[in-house]
């Protein structure tokens, strides 16, 4: 507290003296060797564990490699193979379904819950905590919780039988028609609370005077949401969009722990297909090429995120 106070006072004094205006543009401090090391060491750590492997990954995508002999260069051969690979096509289609359903529904659900729970009133804290709890769990824990649920004669089946829908019962995770959706559900259960928190933070930052003004002008609650809240949330929306797309393309844990992409690749995503190609059938070149496809799909979002970050910087 005292530090913060001291800071604001000295700040004000500087402003009065006319010297506070350029504190962001001018960095007069000399760069000492220590400071260079401060930046250099972490940068090198990241270079060794991220930049260098990433470059190798891109190069491996152009090779055929079984991990034993030396990789042989095949150019774009791996990418040509993908076109005629039915499993790759399934994985690509499922990744698209995943993006739309997992991404879309978690935005709708998270935003809806944030609207419902934005006003500070009695009980709201408990509701928020309930929705947020699954976010704390690992996806493996989430997967196991839901596997218990989906077991034959588990709670899902008992409830269905109880309400007379016993005919619908099936081995949810072992049926190729339902496996993908049976995995999306737990993933959503965990993601909605996360998106809700992002939107709650965004809603808090909206100026209440705007609502007052709209109210005075006779706007209904629905109109206020549509014409005041949503346009004010532009920044949050773009963050949520990037988070959702990056999360969807990275999704691996939940599928791997529930179905491993099966049965018959019916719940295969690009990420799980990449992993099993790499570490189970050791086609390391082809697996790298799948990873490059994931990267390309994520690229637009990554660039958007970086451009925004860049703008903030300048």
């Amino acid at each position: 507290m005292t530090v913060a106070e001291a800071v604001t006072t000295s700040d004000r004094a500087a402003h009065q003296a006319g010297g506070g205006g350029d504190r962001r543009t001018k960095r007069a401090w000399k760069v000492s060797p220590l400071i260079l090391a401060f930046v250099f060491v972490p940068f090198v750590v990241e270079a060794v564990w991220v930049f260098w492997p990433a470059m190798q990954g891109f190069w491996l995508a152009l090779t055929k490699w079984d991990g034993l002999s030396a990789p042989t260069f095949v150019g774009l051969g791996n990418f040509k193979d993908m076109v005629s690979d039915p499993i790759f096509k399934t994985a690509l289609k499922n990744t698209a379904i995943w993006l739309v359903l997992f991404g879309g529904l978690s935005v709708i659900g998270g935003f809806g819950m944030a609207l419902l729970l934005q006003r500070e009133r009695r009980g709201v804290g408990i509701y928020r905590a309930a929705l947020f709890t699954p976010v704390v769990f690992s996806l493996v824990v989430t997967a196991l919780i839901w596997r218990v649920f989906y077991q034959p004669d588990g709670l899902v089946d008992s409830v269905l039988r109880g309400v007379g829908l016993g005919d619908f019962i099936r081995p949810w995770l072992a049926d190729p028609d339902t496996a993908l959706y049976a995995v999306i559900l737990p993933a959503l259960w965990r993601q909605i609370g996360y998106v809700m928190v992002l939107y709650l933070a965004g809603l808090k930052a909206v100026d209440p005077a705007l609502y007052e003004a709209a109210k005075v002008d006779g706007a209904s609650a629905w109109q206020r949401t549509l014409y005041v809240t949503i346009p004010q949330l532009k920044g949050v929306n773009s963050v949520v969009l990037s988070v959702i797309v990056i999360d969807s393309l990275r999704s691996f844990d939940i599928v791997w722990s529930m179905t491993k992409g099966g049965p018959y690749h019916s719940s295969e995503l690009l990420s799980t297909y990449m992993y099993s190609t790499a570490f189970q059938s050791t086609q390391l070149g082809y697996a790298s090429a799948i990873a490059v496809v994931i990267f390309i799909l994520a690229l637009a979002v990554i660039l958007g995120y970086l451009i925004r970050a860049f703008k903030e910087e300048s």
Binding site: R27, E46, V140, L198
Partner: protein
Amino acid sequence: MNRLRTAGYHLSMSVVSFLWIAPILWVIVISFRSFDDVAANGLGSLPHSFTFSTYKQAWEDADEFRALINSLLVTIPAVLLSLGLASIAAYGLARYNIPFRRTVLLLMLMGNLLPPQILLIPISRFVELIGYYDTLIALIAVHVGFGLGFYTFVLHGFMRDLPREIQEAATIDGAGPGRIYSSVILPLTRPAMAALGALSFTWIFNDLLWSITVIRSGEKMPVTPALLGLQGLFVSSWNVIAAGTVIAAVPTVAVFLRFQKHFVGGLAIGAVK
């Protein structure tokens, strides 16, 4: 009318909240049921027994105790190292006129945004090459390397906004760059560090992909991947698996409850800027 609406609101929100945590409660209930009970009445029925033996089995027979220790041996050093490295990098980049500082910052952030799949094969090979395959040290290094970019970016945002005058004052008082970092800048970024600490703890603790990529032997597995092995060990003993799941979830729930404010604040860091 208004009171009715309030009652309706609370009723529906209570139902939603209850449904939301129902799966968790259900698994906790199952974890205390005996094998005979589950076998006789099915997983969907209400409990007819109460036992702690499931926890004993998961803890001792499946050696979740060791798995938890492994998790902590990886998570704690990885969190400390990555936050330490990220904070010195952010300090240098935010407070000094380092050449190409913006490029360096964006490169580091970009590294974190890469899909991890692109790194899996090269990293598993690299770790093998330097003789650290199947060691916890390799796992720590991977987590530190991959997380650094994001932590640096967030901390940079905080440090950049600290007023220039405090640093000037410290310089006049004769403090060098290292001193300014440790006794002026670092204490002021404590809220951000706490938020990132809580977040990164759960991220690293909850990781599956990197663990199964760089670690092979069962006795070195952290608890998150070890949980998957439990399924093979106790086929269809869902009460023991449920107990194991509860055990594996406890540490992150504890961190969340202890650092609730920081945690939620941390998640929202990116949202409002």
